[in-house]
Symmetry: C2
Subunit: 256 residues, 2 copies
Amino acid sequence: MELEEDYVIFGERLAEASGKIIRETFNKNRVVQYKDDGSPVTSADKDAETVMRDMIMVEYPNHGILGEENKSWQIGSECLWVLDPIDGTKNFASGFYNFGTLIALVIGGRFALGIINQPVLNQCWVGVAGRGTLFNGDLTETRECSELGEAWMCSTTPNMFRGSKENSYKKLSSIVKHSIFGSDCIGYAMLSCGQIDIVCEAQLKPWDFAAHIPIIEGSGGIITDWSGKKLTLESSGEVLAAGTEELHKQAVLALA
Amino acid sequence: MELEEDYVIFGERLAEASGKIIRETFNKNRVVQYKDDGSPVTSADKDAETVMRDMIMVEYPNHGILGEENKSWQIGSECLWVLDPIDGTKNFASGFYNFGTLIALVIGGRFALGIINQPVLNQCWVGVAGRGTLFNGDLTETRECSELGEAWMCSTTPNMFRGSKENSYKKLSSIVKHSIFGSDCIGYAMLSCGQIDIVCEAQLKPWDFAAHIPIIEGSGGIITDWSGKKLTLESSGEVLAAGTEELHKQAVLALA
């Protein structure tokens, strides 16, 4: 199924509207509240999601919405918008730049559109299934790295790996050239631009990874769960992205 | 001793000259080499340090230089410039923004001037002993947080804590509200701006922390080694910075 161009343009409008709110709040006096799971949330998270939800409900009343900060809406719909208004809230609230808005459109279970928008830096990555990924309008490409021992890997925090996942992660981490932390969604953006070779993460929710699928695939990379299986909205939250097939295979083996 | 205003202006000229080189290289095709200790270095690191060394040798031929990328020069001098052309090379080489140039002037063993310059974002922090720290010309101030359980802490990587230091760090980390990684020098900059409450790090060299001392102190914060002792060029590399005295005391106890 070819993605309607209207959806891409609308996704970019969502990024623009949420970005305006986030830009106005970044590095200002922040008020942090806490969700039931103990994770922080700011007024910018809530307001940015609200503005996107309102726009979707007006423009596409038959579509569903799965967002980080609000109740699900019509999630059985053929077309489902998956939203994370600020991925990297801790970085955002601390003045670091590794955060962004994630917008994905899932059509009939297929990850059709993905957007990572860093509104303070005016950086936007747009991935559409079957097309090349664009970064601020230019095609992106993952870089050639076929040896795990040469690979630069990033993850948001080592604290996301628990139990047996921690051992698997440590094995992979002991083989790669460098492990970098604090990346949040910008790690996937840098992978698509050929600046990083691997992103390995765990405990992610659909809104944390849905947008990355068309972005990584459209830049020549591979993104799956840790066992190499395609990600779905029901995946358990372990995500492995790599710039080349060789690297991805080696990483799956190391995590096994 | 009052710091000569000329030194501050000259330090800013060093930041400007090194920043030009770094801006031209960021997110371009990078060539990474490796030093004897296995840490990466780019041509931007080397060129940015060279331009600063050349300027110092011309302007202040009697001063000494201690830099990350080149041999020491007249380090017994009363006035010693301590330079890290790119603190956060891994972030820089991967397209993340948490990196900066560190410039410090030590006069008779006293940390007299410190500069953190993020040249891509045009952000510059200037600390002078006995004065208020300036961020792009505006006074900075650490924020009020007197309870470890409420504190947001950052560190560059958990891999910098080894042996008994790892246990101490884990104890502190288990008490604070949040631990964020990947911060490099920008963590100290955010502490001075009241965006973060604690920075806890280990294995730092003088060029990794010298600039931070006047910056943190000039914004109302405290920076010492893990036992609460003042940092010197001979300190063993464990650094603890906090926004308030109460918080610093509690952190020293947790690390003991």
